[in-house]
Structure formats: structure tokens, C-alpha cells
Symmetry: C2
Subunit: 349 residues, 2 copies
């Protein structure tokens, strides 16, 4: 028998993280009697009790303005504070290493309505979110080494409030994930004298089998090494280090491709598709002035659903202790995402 | 103000993985309006429809024997098969690296009763599970480079069948996690001429603040660099490379400490405590004959609960894209685990 990646188990390498994923396409047939999630409730358009709504009072007593577009504020219960005492200098014990951490956590409300999501917004509304991302990165990037913009969407992804919003956590340290990507992209750059992710996009645009959407400035694809069933990556087609380097036109076409991708997501299982997404680009703060040419800006979407709106892929046991495992191949996932309609299911008759 | 690890955010280094965790102890006060899980249903002692029960018919038509202790069989829907075609030799493209993967997946039923769990078993019953682990490792370790023994417990941990069981996935490749631990333990061994985890245990036995349980042969502690709220590590006190090297007495005292740890877990939130747990020791197969002296056997427990039986810690957004974050410190977690009773809540009057 000849090897066929759509049928036969194999492992694939993730050059950005320097590790591997196990692909077992034959495993989709397995019966499921595990956890079935309940569907999320429909939300009110304006829930004055939701602490993220315009005019609402937050748990700490602060009152939101009656905002009409986006709204940014400092998280009332931040995981990272700006002013904290730092631990003493290193004891030198390699088994008990500790270091100081400073930072800030902000919340960015996407829209005044509680029951709207990106696929249901206009391109102009999405563009305003992108503009805010750029503004925040511009400001926070002056002070912090890393500014992590991320959105947790849906209660299956641990989102603690359903009002459409993202978070921006900045830190004085370079976190694990960007550190890993920094060193792998740098090694590639030194070895091949070109940008890893630009080489990657070019090959994917030729091969086409993992593409989901593209336009003049952006590509959206299921990476060859994807872990989550419908994981995607969104990248600018030209060499761009950070969100703040995007032109006005590139921001508009980013809004457009984000809308299309998330409509495809929602249509896949006819549900408001949960995910964690976020942006990775060249570091900021004191690292801004270093040579970061090996970096290419990209967004990653990690959606948990596998079989339906209520059946997730669980990254547990083997995945936590040994190595991520996926059931369908990246090519199959891209194919399914391409095959759904670009009209949102709520507007289909 | 002086730095106090119980109050002030900081980062800690994990020498086994070579990465960092963010600790934000002040964050426990944050209100929660996110996902609240439903409680797992009480199970029947003997559910003949459960495919893991003695005498039951499995989805593929196989019939289980009327087993009275443990029972091992090959997974009917394995993620790893033993006989599969392999991909062609490496194309040399660093962005599309693929490799063959062979393996096997077994299921080990712990007990004939569906409604029993490790904390409710006798030490003798747990000892029989440990004996099976050793037998399986002995046999599978002849053929495979890595034998991953792991238990997913509870539907919150994606366990697809509530009958008490674990899984044993063997592979021709060394997966990411053990590969990382192998190289970090080896580097320590080369630099300090001693075993990382033995040095670690000795320091923890002196400091005591992270200990949960110990006896003559074993230590159970919340590692300094723990990620999950109540994560623990279970290690033999003498230098042991693999489960198969344990003496008869060490297996009995392992059964005893496993029972104590899991009773503490259940008592913490008065619930059958969910977790993924598994064993890491020196590699096997063709790697058995290499110098593995830098390895120390250990089990890891990753439980998801944070606040109660129904409120989990979600490792999403920031954790997936940047770095793991925890709310309470390792010392606080150990303290809480030490402070609960050693009588299981079901037997308390
Ligand atoms: O084998 P099970 O219990 O059906 O499945 C569970 O454990 C596996 C190994 O950790 C995971 O790959 C699955 O996602 C999870 O649902
Ligand atoms: O900030 P939230 O939405 O309350 O909390 C959520 O996102 C955070 C950042 O990814 C995580 O640390 C929390 O575990 C998760 O529940």
C-alpha cells in the first residue's frame, strides 16, 4: 500500500515552534460518548446588567460611558499589574528560578451591542477594532516588550463575559510562545537568508490545498502543522513586522478577510463558532530597536470544535503529556472551510 | 513594599520544560460569570451497556470477558496503528517536514465496577493496576521508543467513557514532551553531575512548603513551576529510571500514596476530582541501551478545577498564545491539599 496523508497516520513538524503533531485521520470514525456541551444562550441586544455594556456599572463601581463604537478600559482584575514589588536578585539555584513581571491588562469592547459578533458586523465596524488594536499596540509597545492582543470567544473557550470583546495583556518579559517563534524564525533567517513565513505563504499560494481565503494583501490558511481541528493562520502577503505597519488599505482588507473567515467558521456547524485568537508580531519596548527582520506578523485562530457545535476536541491526556494529536488532516479542514457558504447561516433563507 | 510571592505577581522557571509560568495571586478575587460545568451523573455499579464493563459488547462487536480485576485490550479506534505505509523520504523542505509514525493504543480497565475510582479502591486493588502498568511497559517497551501511560478522568477532561480506565499509547517516535524533558535533564546532568529531579526532591523535603504527601519511598508535591491550580508531581525518592525498576514494596507504597493523593483531591471540592495524569520515565525501545542516568521517573497530575467542582481554570487565550498563567501559588495549593481530611467525603459522617 502506498502512503496517503489523508488516510495514514504520520507526524508533521511545526517550524515556528520546533515541535511535532501526530495526525491520525483514520480516527474520525471513533464513537463518542464523552462530554456534549450545551449550546450558548441567545443574548439580549442590550443587557444593562452586563458589565461590558454601554452605561453599565462594573463590579468595582466604575460606570461605562454610553459608547457607540469601541471602548477600551483597564481590566478591573488584571493578571498583570504595573506597580508591584520585584523578587530579590536571583539566588542562583537553577531549580527555583523566579523573576519579576510587570504589565497591564486592558479590555477592548468591540461594539455597543451584546449580541453581535465579528461575522455579523460590517467591514467598517471590524475596521474600527483593527484601528484600536493598532492604537493600543502603538502606545503599549512603547513601554512593554510584548503586547498580546487576544480574543476568547464563547464559553467553551473560557470566555467569562459574552459581550463581544478582546483583551490586551502587555508584559515586561517576552512570553514562552513568542520567544519560541522568535528564535525559530531567527534561525531560519540566518540559515536561508529569507523570512520563514513569507517563504511559507508563497509555497501555500502555489499548492492551494490548505488555503481558506485570500485577497490582494492577506492569506488565510490551515497551517500544514495545525493542531486544533479547524485552526487557521492569517498573514499579510508582504513583509510586515507588526500591526502598526499596516496601511489603511491593508486594514480594510484585513477587516474583510476576518469577516469572511468567521462567517465560514459560523457556517461550519451553524453556531457562533468559539475560538481563541490572537496576534503575533515582532517584539516591542526595548526590543523594538533590535533587528527583527526575521519576523512576519500573523494571527492564529484556535477553535475547539471537532464534530459539531457541542462536541469539542479535548487536548488532554496524551496531548498534555506527550504530543498534540489531530483527527482530520489540515487539507481536509481547509476543504471543509472552503466548501461552506459565505452567506452567514442567520441570513440564509 | 517588600516582595511577597503569595501576594505579588512574578514568573517562575520550569527547568524540566525550559519555559516559564506567570503567577498572579492577586487575581483570585476576580468575579466569575463564565462557564459553570454540570456535575457528572452518578454511575451504576454495573452498566452492561458500557463497552468497558465485564461481559459487554464493544462497538466493533468484540465481547469483553467477565473480568474480576483489571483488563487490557487494544483500543478499537486507535490513534496509532502498528501497520501503516510510511511517507516517502524527506523532501528536504524545512517548511513541510513529515515523518512516519507507528504505534499501538491499549485500554486498561482498572476494575470491574463502573462506579469506583482510585480513591475508593483498596491499596491492593490499586497495586494490581500498578503491576499491570509494569507488565505493559515491560512488553511494549521492547518494541517502542516511548510508552505513554495516562488516565483521563472525568468528562471535564475529555474522558469519553466513565468506567475507570487508563490508556497506554506507544510510539516509534519520542513525543515532544518527553523529548524536552530528556534534553533538559541531560543538560543538567552534564552541568551539575547529578540528577535534576533528585536534587529537586531533596530541596523540597527540606523546605516542606510544597509537599502534599510522602512516605519512605515516594514524595508527592506541587511543583514550584506548576501550571494547573492543583497540579502535583509524584516521584520515587531513590534514583529510578522507569516503572519497571520499582521493587514490590515500592509498588505497594506507590498504591498507598496514590490513594491518599486522590482522596485529598476528591475532598477538596467534595467531588470525584477530574484530571489527566501520566508517567514519564527514561525512553525505551532502541533508546533503552543509551545512557539514561539523567532521567528520574515521575507521574504528573493535571487537574482542571480552580474554584469548585463546576468552575475550571481555562487555559485559553493568553495561555495558548503567550504563556501559562495561574492564580494561586504552588505553596497555597499545597497548603489547601494538606489541610483536607484523609477520610474520603463519601465516608465522612
Ligand atoms: O481516547 P478517548 O478517551 O476517547 O479520547 C480522549 O483522550 C485522547 C487522548 O488523550 C484525546 O486524544 C481525545 O481528544 C480525548 O477526547
Ligand atoms: O479574562 P477572563 O475572560 O476572565 O478569563 C479567561 O481568559 C484568561 C486569559 O486567556 C484566562 O487566564 C482565564 O483562565 C480565562 O477564563
Amino acid at each position: 500500500m502506498e502512503f496517503n496523508a489523508t488516510e495514514h497516520q504520520h507526524i508533521r513538524y511545526n517550524p515556528l515552534r520546533g515541535d511535532w503533531v501526530l495526525i491520525s485521520p483514520h480516527r474520525l470514525q471513533r464513537p463518542w460518548s464523552g462530554k456534549v456541551d450545551s449550546l450558548q444562550e441567545e443574548l439580549l441586544e442590550n443587557d444593562p446588567k452586563n458589565p461590558l455594556s454601554p452605561g453599565a456599572t462594573r463590579p468595582n463601581g466604575a460606570v461605562n460611558p454610553h459608547y457607540e463604537s469601541t471602548y477600551v478600559f483597564n481590566n478591573d482584575f488584571p493578571a498583570l499589574l504595573q506597580e508591584v514589588p520585584e523578587p530579590d536578585v536571583d539566588s542562583g539555584d537553577p531549580l527555583f528560578k523566579i523573576a519579576g513581571a510587570k504589565g497591564s491588562c486592558r479590555v477592548l469592547c468591540f461594539h455597543p451591542k451584546s449580541n453581535i459578533t465579528i461575522p455579523l458586523m460590517t467591514v467598517q465596524e471590524i475596521k474600527r477594532i483593527i484601528d484600536k488594536w493598532c492604537e493600543e499596540l502603538q502606545e503599549l509597545g512603547k513601554h512593554f516588550t510584548w503586547v498580546q492582543i487576544f480574543e476568547n470567544k464563547g464559553d467553551q473557550m473560557g470566555c467569562s463575559n459574552p459581550h463581544p470583546h478582546c483583551q490586551i495583556w502587555s508584559s515586561s518579559f517576552l512570553p514562552n510562545e513568542p520567544k519560541l517563534k522568535d528564535s525559530n524564525q531567527k534561525a531560519y533567517w540566518q540559515k536561508y537568508k529569507s523570512v520563514m513565513l513569507l517563504d511559507y505563504i508563497n509555497r501555500e499560494l502555489e499548492r492551494k490545498e490548505r488555503l481558506v481565503e485570500f485577497n490582494d494583501s492577506w492569506v488565510c490558511l490551515v497551517p500544514y502543522w495545525a493542531i486544533w481541528p479547524f485552526e487557521t493562520m492569517l498573514l499579510p502577503r508582504r513583509h510586515i513586522l507588526r500591526l502598526t505597519d499596516l496601511t489603511e488599505d491593508e486594514r480594510i482588507s484585513l477587516a474583510d478577510i476576518m469577516k469572511k473567515l468567521t462567517i465560514r467558521y459560523d457556517n461550519l456547524f451553524c453556531t457562533s463558532f468559539p475560538y481563541s485568537m490572537g496576534w503575533h508580531g515582532a517584539p516591542t519596548g526595548s526590543l523594538t530597536s533590535e533587528d527583527n527582520s526575521h519576523w512576519q506578523l500573523h494571527a492564529i485562530y484556535y477553535p475547539p470544535l471537532l464534530r459539531s457545535a457541542t462536541i469539542r476536541k479535548f487536548m488532554v491526556g496524551y496531548e498534555m503529556l506527550a504530543q498534540p494529536q489531530r483527527d482530520l488532516t489540515a487539507e481536509q479542514a481547509a476543504d471543509r472551510l472552503r466548501s461552506v457558504s459565505l452567506t452567514h447561516y442567520k441570513f440564509q433563507s
